[in-house]
């Protein structure tokens, strides 16, 4: 595996770390199975791409993308808490609606950004290739900032109320927590992070494409679960850290799969190899434990 390939995996891993943090909020903390992500990720990309094409500052474009994502999250939550639509169904409705909305926003299924300014442009050389190095470094700062801000929020009074809402809504209500309101806030925050990831994604990929959202939720979930398995933790700081590591690891595994051609594997095997690697990552801690307990039983 070349260095550029490795940095590419980290770059996309860092972008999907934002997705994973969003998924962590909805699935794990709020206990809200949310498929909005497949729509809010391209929504963020679409909003950012359109704004950049229209000449707005790329950072402002990222901000607006996050706001749009928050709107999508609010809508899903609203369908559930106000109209009583099942969580999964509410999120599917918003997801499919967003497909059309994203097409409307972009005005075409593909919007190119090559050559236009991005948040990375000021740091990138215009003559030689150094984007492969600069982009992941800048993204690392963005992701760390997002993690710390999220940690701070989730340990605040409102954050605690949000976690209580997910853990035991009845008890939370009994304690005077407005669970509906917190569900809306949590879902807005979750999808804002996912849309922000979409905004960064289009700026590293040279354009937004309507099909870019497919599978977002799967990757986000995989990252959360891999993180939990490899770094089982109770403290919130470690949980968010584990999620970040899970997202990075998932991309490294794809990178490994892409570089697996020397053992006779072919392009069409990619998804299979990725699935096998992820499965291994998931059962590894259990295998280790088994091995340990066996050793313990052996007579000395």
């Amino acid at each position: 595996m070349s260095l550029i390939s490795l940095m590419g995996a980290l770059e996309i891993g860092l972008i999907f770390a934002l997705v994973a943090l969003g998924v962590l909020i909805s699935f794990r903390l709020l206990n809200f199975p949310d498929l909005t992500a497949d729509g809010s990720f391209p929504l963020g990309g679409a909003v950012a791409a359109v704004m950049i094409v229209s000449g707005y500052n790329p950072w402002l474009a990222c901000g607006m993308a996050a706001l749009a994502g928050a709107g999508a999250g609010c809508l899903t939550a609203w369908l559930h808490v106000r109209l009583g639509i099942l969580q999964l169904l509410a999120s599917i409705l918003v997801m499919i609606a967003l497909y059309s909305i994203n097409l409307r926003i972009m005005g075409a299924p593909n919007l190119a950004l090559i050559g236009l300014p991005s948040v990375f442009t000021p740091f990138i050389s215009q003559v030689e290739d150094n984007a492969w190095l600069i982009q992941p470094i800048l993204l690392l700062f963005v992701v760390l900032f997002a993690k710390l801000a999220l940690d701070a929020f989730l340990t605040s009074e409102m954050g605690l109320a949000l976690r209580a809402t997910g853990a035991n809504p009845r008890m939370a209500r009994a304690q005077g927590i407005a669970t509906s309101r917190l569900t809306v806030i949590g879902m807005a925050l979750s999808n804002a992070l996912i849309a922000l990831a979409g905004a960064f994604y289009v700026q590293t990929q040279g354009g937004a494409d309507i099909s870019m959202g497919i599978g977002t939720i799967v990757v986000g979930l995989a990252a959360v679960i891999i993180g939990e398995t490899l770094l089982p933790a109770r403290s919130l700081y470690l949980i968010t850290l584990a999620t970040l590591l899970g997202a990075l690891l998932y991309r490294l595994m794809i990178s490994l799969a892409l570089n697996a051609d020397f053992i006779g594997l072919q392009a069409q095997d990619l998804n299979l190899i990725t699935a096998v690697l992820v499965t291994l990552a998931l059962i590894l801690p259990k295998l280790k434990q088994k091995l340990k307990s066996k050793q313990g039983k052996q007579p000395s």
Partner: protein, 289 residues
């Protein structure tokens, strides 16, 4: 690299490899590596980075999003795009002139005039043309716009039937029954993958199916005037060879695929209520019996 495994895209790939072989660049002279993102855009980005890291003599990117992610990631390694309908709109190159950058390639855009000519040859009194397509595919939305303009010029109208998913194709086609004289389909991935469902509707309602993709004629379309994706691959391969022989990508102007071929299926046409003229059948490169 390719965005997804798909018959047309794979035919392009095979064409490129065969052209390289024909020029003497076989396995022991060049190393060819192929990766498909299996439909996942994020993976496409990662594949782009992997190839750039491997520092090859050239990267061939099949399809628009694949090409964008490679072009966004390198300014130095030669990139050859192919099966991209509009490389200028996709910002891969700034014009159809030699780009002066590390990018060149071949477009699969098809002139729309001959397509309408074919429609009229199959059904001379056609006034209303229906088109089933996926609004999420650039290659389709570009054709819809051009077709609309061309039909208006000839005093005809276009009736659109958007089908975002494969399961939407049948209802979209049924919706056209009674409103159109012919149904036209382009290279839309959704429509192509479930063409049989379209054929069912067309046969029942006696509406001829005209296509811009030859592969669907043996599946039941009446006639098609399409790009041979294999030949497009051969054409792309020629550019790759020029790069391997030392030319700079910036001095090679992007090309448009130059081989169209006509396929007809007289039996399918009968089922759809029209008889293909002997002239048309004779001029076809491929006649499905």
């Amino acid at each position: 690299m390719s965005i997804v495994d798909h018959p047309a895209l794979n035919a392009t790939r095979d064409g490129i490899i065969d052209e390289l072989k024909a020029a003497g660049y076989d396995q022991d002279k060049v190393k060819i590596q192929f990766q498909s993102a299996q439909g996942n855009m994020a993976t496409a980005g990662q594949i782009a980075r992997k190839f750039i890291g491997d520092k090859p003599d050239a990267i061939v990117a099949i399809s628009t999003p694949a090409a964008q992610s490679v072009v966004a990631a390198t300014k130095t390694i030669p990139v050859v795009f192919t099966t991209v309908t509009d490389p200028v709109a996709a910002k891969l190159v700034s014009s159809w002139q030699p780009s002066g950058t590390n990018v060149t390639g071949v477009s699969d855009s098809v002139a729309i005039g001959p397509q309408v000519d074919l429609i009229l040859k199959v059904k001379p009194d056609a006034k209303r043309v229906g088109m089933v397509y996926s609004p999420g595919e650039v290659n389709s939305t570009v054709v819809v716009k051009e077709l609309k303009d061309e039909l208006t010029k000839r005093g005809m109208t276009l009736v659109e039937a958007p089908a975002p998913r494969t399961v939407d194709v049948t209802p979209a086609a049924k919706n056209l029954v009674g409103k159109v004289d012919v149904i036209y389909t382009n290279t839309d991935n959704n429509v192509i993958s479930t063409y049989e469902s379209l054929v069912n509707v067309a046969n029942q309602a006696k509406i001829p199916l005209i296509a811009g993709d030859n592969s669907v004629v043996k599946r039941g379309a009446a006639a098609a005037l399409g790009m041979s994706y294999y030949d497009l691959g051969r054409q792309t391969g020629k550019i790759v060879i020029r790069l391997l022989e030392g030319e700079q990508p910036g001095t090679i102007a992007p090309e448009v695929g130059n081989k169209l071929s006509l396929s007809v299926n007289p039996a399918a046409a009968e089922k759809q209520g029209v008889t293909l003229s002997a002239d048309l059948i004779q001029s076809a490169q491929e006649v499905i019996k």
